[in-house]
């Protein structure tokens, strides 16, 4: 198992433990519908409560295991080797930049701008154009010439946007956002 995953396991274990406690508390304090004479074994909070307990147990196992493995690793590996492992586990910077840019574009398009006044096909074409232009650079070695990229994106983006809009509006009778 990688060193990064080990420390992530400890943090993850703690997060699951807290989340499980919150779910268990939420289930315990949930209405038991006593006025409807609901049997205590069939209350709405039963299954979420059991799931909360499950999160806590598995989170605790993850946490303890992560602690043990980290302690074992610390005692076996010299500091220099641990540092080398951490560097080897570090994510590729270019890949992270590409991912964050892609995620930001997707969330801006689908989460922030869609359905807030901009016509669907224009917004979709703009998103596709931006994605194709901004991410092609990092995707290709050697990079596609800028003019070729621009022409390709300028043709493809509106074509796909109009095709999707027409398909959903005319064929599937969906009122577009």
């Amino acid at each position: 198992m990688k060193a990064g995953h080990l420390s992530a396991d400890r943090v993850g274990g703690l997060v699951w433990l807290i989340f499980g406690a919150a779910v268990a508390y939420g289930s315990w304090s949930m209405d038991r519908l006593a006025e409807l004479h609901v049997h205590p074994a069939t209350v709405p909070g039963l299954v979420p409560g059991l799931l909360g307990a499950g999160f806590m147990i598995l989170g605790a196992i993850l946490l303890v295991r992560g602690e043990r493995k980290a302690a074992a690793e610390a005692s076996f590996l010299p500091a220099a080797e641990r540092d080398a492992l951490a560097i080897a586990d570090a994510p590729d910077e270019l890949a992270w930049r590409r991912l964050l840019l892609s995620w930001a574009l997707c969330v801006t398009y689908g989460g922030l701008l869609l359905g807030h006044g901009i016509p669907y096909w224009i917004l979709t074409a703009a998103f596709l154009f931006a994605h194709m232009m901004l991410l092609d650079e990092t995707d290709r070695v050697p990079a596609r010439p800028a003019m070729k990229r621009l022409i390709l994106a300028a043709i493809l983006a509106p074509a796909v946007a109009i095709a999707v809009a027409q398909l959903f509006e005319r064929v599937f009778l969906v009122r577009l956002p």
């Binding site: 939420g26 709405p44 039963l46 598995l58 989170g59 689908g110 989460g111």
Partner: protein, 511 residues
Amino acid sequence: MMEGLVLFANGVAGYLNPTSLGLAFGATLLGIVAGCMPGLSATLVITLLTTLTLKMQPTQAILVLVCAYNGAIYGGSRTAILLNIPGTAANAAACLDGHALARQGQAGRAMGISTTGSVLGTLFGLICLATFTPLLAEIALSFGAFEFFWLALLGVVMSGNVVAADPIKGWLAGLLGLFVACIGQEGMYAYERFSFGNPDLAGGFQLIPVLVGAFGFSEVLMVMSEKSARAKIMEFGSALPRIMDVLRYWRTIIRSGVIGVWVGILPGVGEDMAAWSSYATARRLSKEPDKYGKGSIEGLMAAETGDNASVPGGIIPALALAIPGSAPCAVLLAAMIIHGVQPGPMLMVENAQFVYDVVAMVLFSTLGILFFGLFFIRPLIKLTQIPRSIMMPVIFVLCVIGSYALSSRLFDVYTMLGFGTLVFIGRKFGYPAAPFVLGIVLGDILDKNLRRGLTLTDGDVLPFFTRPISAILAALVLWTFVTNVPALNAILVRGWTALLDRIFGRTRKSA
């Protein structure tokens, strides 16, 4: 038996019209194309297609989904053989010998073997689907709330155990799925759980936007976060299968078919495990185990037969028990419910024709695989050259509009974005998506049946452990859990050893 054959003939006849044939072959081709593209999984394809087929007739919509599913599992072998990149997870085993054969200049032969294995595997699975679904449904008619509770739990536990490298993380993902299914109005008293007064949350999360997020958006992010691998077209000869390859390895084909179907039936396990299990068994029993990994025809045949046999195998419990055999089957199950078909033990009683319609759908997809697999190779390889910076945003646009189209509300788009991001982060840290999705699909079954059972017994939990089938299922769940937690496993082993010592120690002493 005769009734089944008549229903199957009706099913085939019902699809012998230009529209249905066009849909079946078109969807199979689409599935093969998507399967060819690394990054596009079978689950993603059928999730997106579910949103595109909402307005279709139920039988035609399910036809499209089944054909695309089967096609995608087959399609991934192309890139596995030519580029050493499995198109879908199910084709990873095919990389080992398929690519080795391609490097030896036998790419065409490898593709022929892959096509033969996939077709024969699907046909074997098809026979099992037609035979075992009615039998399983009949057995399941005697199931009560107790058995369905354990079945749902077993699905999540087994999926978490098999799919994830770390079972603890697989189970946590499954539990999260079960919890997400609890949000909103519950099924017994219409009480709103964890909705915090939000009217959108009160209705619960719709399955399709969550699935599109978990398998669509997260997959887009996954592909964008990976280093790009440029495809190279290689020279290959004829992809026509050789009859000797089939005759020589007939035992391997049948054995891999059986393994594929069995792994498919196991709740939540999936095609990749079917391929690996078939491959490993074939290697163990082979007369030429040293050839494996270096271009073994038998190895490639075993892997490809196993993964495609698990496709109909996974549909068996989905139809008979409403418990999906794999992640794509979970989407298929959701699609059936959306289209008004209610899978489960009563399906054979209320709508037996539908079961045999599905058998006919698998048959058409197999014919499609055979046709496109033999005569449509070069255009498929060209399609794998489309750069991800063009492909991925187009897929995301479909994810957005597909989530929205279901109920025309933006909340579903936000759901897709939220769960997509969550699942992506989880996958990066080793939490698989399949148990999470299975948890969402099975959450309602688990919740309702646990509380129904407790209502029937007036709060007594004993019948959950004393009814014969319940007891077996409970033991399976407990066994899976205990054997995968080292601390509990150690206690179990110590206890077992102490017990044996006590019994045999005394026997030895008395002797």
